[in-house]
Subunit: 249 residues, 2 copies
């Protein structure tokens, strides 16, 4: 198969939110492959709060997030919940070679996903090595992120957990909309309860620790969601991260 100059899938140009990560899957596709991808693709949209798919359900597609935010969660019978992943625009969901969903996938904001029928997608990657290589790379990044999260869940204090989460969101935000300088400002995409589910805490503890970080001047709050990080290095310090700490979420 001939490698070519990068070609971007039309739907990725349309959606306006395509990122390096997503684009890279398609950048080396030739026009035949692009046509096949176009054929098997379709869009689905969800409202905030809607469930995309329940753990254990039949899942006959793979997808990437075009816009909005979704979460992956696991639930125990008695209702204890743990978020195991956060899907942001360009993130991939679904697993070639598996037919049922392993996690609950829920839209936390209005959500648009670009889906590919699973069977033809699997056939395509079998004959298109650079796509499976790209998937491997993305999966390894996710594995690193999951393992970083294991350290957080197993060993960090509530305060460190909150600071870590804020740092990750801040970092992600900066990389998406690079800014001049000065404080980092963003809106939290998660409720206190969702943050708690992500961090292995209760929502009360999240609330208290966010207030504590505010009281200590590490962050400022305007309303409940709008966060200003006054000093990012200070935040990292509170998070207990090694100086570099580049989460590959």
């Amino acid at each position: 198969m001939a490698l070519r100059e990068p070609v971007i899938l039309p739907h990725l140009q349309d959606c306006g939110s395509c990122t390096i990560r997503h684009r890279a899957v398609c950048a080396r596709c030739d026009s035949d492959e692009l046509a096949r991808l176009e054929q098997m693709k379709y869009y689905r949209s969800f409202q905030a709060g809607q469930t995309v798919i329940w753990s254990g359900d039949r899942m006959d597609f793979v997808a990437s997030v075009v816009s909005g935010i979704a979460t992956l969660t696991q639930t125990m019978e008695d209702g204890r919940r743990q978020m195991v992943g956060l899907l942001l625009p360009s993130d991939f969901v679904g697993r070639p070679g598996r037919s049922t969903a392993a996690y609950d996938v829920t839209a936390t904001t209005d959500l648009l996903m670009c889906c590919f029928r699973k069977k033809p997608f699997e056939d395509l990657i079998l004959s298109t090595p650079h796509i499976s290589q790209r998937l491997l790379e993305m999966t390894l990044d996710e594995l690193d992120a999951a393992r970083e999260w294991m350290l957080l869940l197993g060993r960090k204090t509530a305060r460190e957990k909150i600071a870590s989460l804020l740092a990750i969101i801040a970092r992600r935000d900066v990389s998406l909309n690079p800014r001049k300088s000065g404080p980092i400002v963003f809106d939290l995409p998660l409720t206190r309860e969702e943050m708690a589910d992500y961090l292995g805490l209760t929502l009360e503890t999240v609330s208290r620790q966010v207030s504590a970080l505010k009281r200590d001047g590490v962050i400022s709050l305007e309303g409940k969601r709008h966060v200003t990080v006054n000093d990012f290095d200070r935040l990292l310090e509170v998070a207990g991260d090694d100086s570099d700490g580049g989460y590959p979420v």
Copy 2:
């Protein structure tokens, strides 16, 4: 590239410990690829307790475990440690496309690894789609395991954590040496401290909860390491796992 009948790499036959997982990487290789793999491979052995590689070190190989057990751990500056993975025979370690280690890798028993020089290995998988597909599959399994572990670390009680770990080891043990019926018996491959690092607990709590499971008749102990699982379903129940609960470790 022509697919063929399965061919097993000589070194896998030699080492006597090759498993389905490892074998599958090579099963479809043709003789040219086998020769290339043979050329780039070499063995390294470590004593129990030795460090294979430190996080951040240059890592110019990928490897698979031939025999023994190794752990992947992350450490915070103040010494808090979290184990993020357990490497058992046939498990793969290292990451094509990355040149430094992301975790400390430590031999917890005497360890033999079969290493492949990274550069030629990367070149080989670029031209050998079924190997990168197999790596993708293995990585997805590890990701699932990591996420299952996130639920454990974030939401399970100490007692549930211990029971979950014992269940995983028991299950793994049964699948490696299938047995008639009756209780499952195995030796713990980890010290109490290593178990604690894996479970996000202290070694004292591990010790207490193991004793409690023994007192309650869920397991029996002979010495500190030799475990008998009297009733596997009961163990799963204590672990709080959904009935099926097949960890793909």
